[in-house]
């Protein structure tokens, strides 16, 4: 479990008590740049402290890891991992669930729009 009293070192990994889950190489600062902007958007300073960003990244990676593992457990019963597994996992968290379904529907709409546009492009190309 994550140890709240872990040292303030930015290199500390939250929840690293299970070595099997951290067998992959954890590159430092994978999301750092994006996280800085995101944290500012959510209420932090325009320049968040680097140790804070590192800690948030660790927590987020741990969260995603947990989610992915659980989704894999669910998905393995069905055969392969699918989006529905993730949706099932966050079913209790309504804002996240709504947001996810919205993102998925938006992505579908965009795909349709792109297809429609490509069809138009071809028509334009042939008529000219």
């Amino acid at each position: 479990m994550s140890n709240p009293s872990t040292g303030t070192s930015s290199k500390s990994k939250v929840g690293s008590s299970q070595p099997s889950e951290t067998s992959f190489k954890r590159k430092r600062g994978v999301f750092q740049k994006d996280l800085q902007h995101m944290m500012y958007g959510f209420g932090d300073d325009p320049n968040p402290l680097p140790e804070t960003v590192s800690l948030v990244e660790d927590i987020v990676v741990e969260y995603v890891t947990d989610l992915a593992h659980k989704a894999q457990d669910i998905g393995s019963k069905r055969g392969k991992l699918s989006v529905e597994d993730f949706l099932y996992l966050i079913r209790k968290d309504l804002p996240k669930l709504n947001r996810s379904t919205e993102l998925l529907s938006m992505q579908e709409e965009l795909k349709q729009a792109r297809k429609a546009f490509e069809v138009d492009e071809e028509k334009l190309g042939t008529t000219e």
Binding site: P4, M38, G41, D44, T52
Partner: protein, 225 residues
């Protein structure tokens, strides 16, 4: 940048006075024209946010505003966000579709509620510069899909990570960050501290979220617990 105009803090402190330098209606154009310099990593997508805002004000300085259809579907953001910030209680579109930003049709069915959009525009027009910049960061920021995909592949060991899955996980993670940061801000106000958020606040926020059950428990079974 001054923190006092932060919508979160404003909501927390029960905003008794409106920001002194928030002109009505003028601010929107100013902040939009000043937002023409994107932060670098989201180039064309960020304009779609302001496309919806700019539809009424007819802002000509947007390069792609004529061609982005971008969905005006409202989106529900983190529950804490909508509760804490009065300006964020509207559902809104996000900019996760950065993969296909080159050309879009203008005639896109907008499933947005016009009443909500009007309300949102009314709120946005009254933003100060600081609030606008923060809102812009909030809307534009996202975790990179490529990084997320790499992470998911390394976790699951399978190469078959579909694009929708990456998008969904990025969205979920962003909301999670939002919950963390906002709870950390609440912790800071309780402790009457100010300035940038420190790791101790994040840890306390994480602890509280865990108590609320918003953090998934470890998936590995633990023996002799």
């Amino acid at each position: 940048m001054k923190q006092s105009k932060d919508p979160f803090e404003a909501a927390l402190e029960e905003q008794e006075e409106s920001p002194p330098d928030s002109p009505i209606g003028q601010d929107e154009l100013d902040s939009q024209t000043q937002n023409q310099t994107p932060t670098g990593h989201h180039t064309l997508v960020d304009d779609d946010d302001y496309d919806e805002i700019g539809t009424n004000t007819n802002n000509p300085s947007h390069p792609s505003s004529n061609s982005t259809p971008m969905l005006l579907t409202p989106s529900v953001n983190a529950n804490v966000a909508s509760a804490a910030a009065a300006s964020k209680n509207k559902e809104y579109d996000d900019d996760e579709e950065e993969e296909n930003v080159d050309v879009e049709l203008g005639k896109f069915p907008s499933s947005a509620d016009p009443a909500k959009m009007a309300k949102m525009q009314a709120i946005l027009s009254q933003f100060t510069e600081d609030q606008m910049s923060r809102y812009e960061s909030f809307r534009r920021s996202a975790l990179q899909k490529s990084n997320m995909r790499r992470l998911l592949v390394s976790i699951t060991g399978s190469q078959k990570i579909s694009l929708p899955m990456t998008i969904v996980v990025c969205g979920i993670a962003k909301m999670y960050v939002g919950e963390l940061v906002e709870t950390a801000r609440m912790v800071m106000t309780e402790r009457k501290e100010s300035g940038p958020i420190r790791p101790c606040h994040i840890r306390e926020a994480y602890r509280r979220l865990k108590l609320e059950g918003k953090v998934p428990k470890k998936s590995v079974q633990r023996l002799f617990h």
